[in-house]
């Protein structure tokens, strides 16, 4: 069995002129990176642009990667920096469309979901509960404080280890683990209405 080349090996090949190696890197990372960015900036069109920006920077700066850390940490450092720059811009230029319902979830803030599932009093349809829960999870993740959300997403969409996340963010590993714990507690609290439903799925 042939072992898949590592990310770092693929980047080295790209630097040597192998465009297919870059395509393989894109294949490996575009989905998790896209979800990381989308949950951070919440708007699909911005996420599309930022995903392009991340990979464009990789194309332009691939030789800057020294290889003394993992490629994934480098990619997420780029992505996170771009997201932070974007959110800073949004703070200064309060964007009208941020007030609109989010494109990511396509729904409004919590009340309507809870209302649909809980307020009627009737036994809610399970498929509807599942659908609502998915939306609520997306929203709850997007509502996490930024520093918790970054950690949470790197862990859950990319499966990064805590020490690698610590390297991306530039904080001690213990801080990363604390943030992860806080994020999970927050999710548990935000979605407490669905705990029974999830327990039944177990």
């Amino acid at each position: 069995m042939i072992k898949d080349p590592s990310d770092e090996e693929l980047l080295r090949r790209f630097n040597d002129g192998d465009a297919d190696a870059f395509a393989e890197l894109v294949r490996r990372y575009e989905r998790p990176l896209y979800n990381f960015i989308l949950r951070s900036v919440r708007r699909r069109e911005r996420a599309d642009e930022l995903l392009q920006d991340v990979f464009m920077k990789v194309v332009q700066r691939s030789q800057d990667f020294k290889g003394n850390s993992k490629l994934s940490t480098w990619l997420y450092t780029i992505a996170r920096n771009l997201c932070i720059d974007h959110s800073r811009k949004m703070v200064f230029r309060r964007h009208k469309s941020l007030d609109a319902p989010r494109s990511g979830s396509g729904s409004e803030e919590g009340p309507s979901l809870l209302e649909r599932t809980a307020a009627e009093g009737a036994e809610p349809d399970r498929a509807m509960v599942a659908e609502d829960l998915r939306k609520r999870i997306s929203e709850a993740v997007e509502e996490l404080p930024e520093e918790q959300r970054d950690v949470f997403l790197m862990r859950h969409v990319q499966g990064m280890r805590f020490r690698d996340i610590a390297e991306v963010i530039g904080v001690p590993e213990n801080t990363v683990k604390s943030r992860m714990r806080y994020a999970l507690e927050r999710l548990q609290r935000a979605l407490a209405d669905y705990a029974e439903y999830v327990d039944e799925l177990k």
């Binding site: 040597d16 002129g17 192998d18 465009a19 870059f22 395509a23 894109v26 998790p32 896209y34 989308l38 996420a47 599309d48 995903l51 392009q52 464009m56 920077k57 194309v59 700066r61 990667f65 020294k66 850390s69 480098w74 450092t77 780029i78 920096n81 703070v91 309060r94 007030d99 990511g104 803030e109 009340p111 809870l114 209302e115 307020a119 999870i137 709850a140 993740v141 509502e143 404080p145 520093e147 862990r155 859950h156 805590f162 530039g170 904080v171 001690p172 213990n174 714990r181 806080y182 994020a183 999970l184 507690e185 927050r186 999710l187 548990q188 609290r189 979605l191 705990a195 999830v198 177990k202």
Partner: protein
């Protein structure tokens, strides 16, 4: 193993990053310690939710341009493959040193240093300091009166800066060489070289927490506001809220792969305290079903208020809170409360709660306690009552109304989610009350005499 060590390891246990030995030890503690066991169960539930997070597929063609650029770049570097002519025409040449020889490579190397942001910043600082050191002695030598005006102000000099924050009209002044003081310049005299600067330091920047009082605030409220603790409010820990310490940046310049756009000296982006602020009261009070009483909102909605529905205004208020624009947030929530849409009555309790938090965060505790009281009175079954009781009690405490704070904290003891916090706060309050009692009361002292 103690509870603290167990807490530190919980997440690693959950994600399978502990060694077998550590995992066993941690699990043993969890089995034997009820509170740690419960905490672990909570994050397990959180993880179950997390694992259900949908992953969105990126659009198919979104990376077409990137792939084209990658092909161009790879073709430009490829040692053997000859790139197609049109690709070369459209793609920038990535390697200048390949064409320009060693001189171009050297320039690029130097440019790499010169363009680093931290170096640019250091150069700017050096330039400013250097200019200052060159300019000030020149100033003192050539124009002693002016330098006196800067470093040695004469008391009672009428050109001292006004205490008012309103910028004054520029004064037509000059230094009198005989007295070393400033006098109005007469017509026809040449203008002085250096503008006279204020002789006292500028007023400290206004804390965001005590920005201009609410328009409806009475003088009494403004006084209370001025007495209130001026520390910014957003990071005030409330139940379940996380305040994380600022941490040093462990990154070492030059040893790590620095991402494009990232300064090597970059610390973590400022963890704005509001980032740790919980996005409050998202959930509407679905249990309550109460209609809000038609009492008038404190402030009429601004004419600039968008005419969208109440949900949009509510969301806008939330966004304003995230951006620390508490005045805008207050206006948004007030407009939701005053003009709820046909299907948005359920937003009222959450809007009241957020309004109170915005008022509290902007330092207006007097208004905040009124809003908290209104929320507690009109929506006793609202799901965030516990938090509202705790927060309202805190506001009363800051206003010095200890008996009102006690009333809310005691009520909070009956809410399970905040009961332990309420007990702690009551203990602190009791100390505060004892301290207040020990202080000599002027009225009773006068009576004793």
């Amino acid at each position: 193993m103690d509870c603290e060590a167990c807490t530190d390891r919980m997440v690693e246990l959950l994600y399978g990053e502990l060694t077998d030995e550590d995992a066993e030890e941690t699990q043993a503690h969890l089995d034997s310690c009820e509170s740690c066991g419960e905490a672990y169960a909570r994050i397990q539930t959180g993880q179950r939710f997390a694992s259900m997070l949908d992953l969105v597929e990126p659009p198919v063609s979104v990376l077409d341009s990137v792939m084209a650029a990658a092909r161009d770049r790879a073709a430009g570097r490829a040692p053997v493959a000859e790139p197609a002519p049109d690709e070369i025409a459209t793609a920038p040449r990535p390697d200048a040193e390949d064409e320009g020889g060693p001189w171009a490579a050297f320039l690029k190397w130097i440019g790499g240093f010169a363009m680093r942001p931290q170096l640019a910043m250091a150069m700017t600082l050096l330039l400013m300091v250097g200019l200052g050191m060159w300019y000030l002695p020149t100033l003192r030598e050539n124009d002693p009166a002016d330098s006196h005006a800067i470093v040695d102000p004469a008391p009672g000099d009428e050109v001292g800066p006004s205490a008012s924050l309103v910028p004054a009209e520029p004064l037509d002044l000059e230094a009198d060489p005989r007295t070393g003081r400033i006098r109005p310049r007469e017509e026809g005299e040449p203008a002085p070289r250096v503008a006279v600067r204020p002789t006292t330091p500028p007023p400290p920047p206004v804390e965001p927490a005590v920005v201009a009082p609410e328009p409806e605030a009475t003088p009494e409220e403004q006084q209370q506001l001025a007495m209130a603790d001026p520390a910014p409010r957003p990071a005030r820990p409330t139940s379940g809220q996380v305040v994380e310490e600022a941490l040093p940046d462990p990154r070492i310049d030059g040893e790590l792969d620095v991402a494009p756009g990232e300064s090597a000296l970059r610390t973590e982006r400022p963890t704005t305290q509001a980032r740790t602020m919980p996005v409050p009261a998202m959930a509407a009070d679905v249990q309550s079903g109460q209609m809000p009483s038609p009492s008038p909102a404190p402030v009429a909605p601004s004419p600039a208020q968008p005419s969208g529905d109440a949900t949009a205004r509510f969301n806008q208020g939330l966004q304003a809170m995230r951006e620390h624009d508490y005045r805008a947030a207050s206006e948004d929530f007030e407009s939701v409360i005053e003009r709820p849409g046909p299907d948005t009555q359920r937003l009222i309790p959450a809007a009241l709660h957020n309004l109170a938090r915005s008022q509290r965060s902007s330092g207006n505790c007097a208004a905040a306690v009124r809003t908290y009281e209104r929320l507690l009175q009109q929506h006793p079954t609202y799901s965030g009552v516990g938090e509202a009781l705790i927060e309202g009690g805190g506001c009363y405490q800051r206003l010095g109304r200890l008996s009102d704070a006690r009333r809310l904290y005691e009520r909070a003891r009956s809410v399970p989610s905040v009961a332990s916090q309420a007990n702690r706060l009551l203990a602190v309050l009791a100390q505060q009350e004892r301290g207040a009692a020990r202080e000599p009361d002027p009225a009773s002292a006068a009576a004793a005499e």
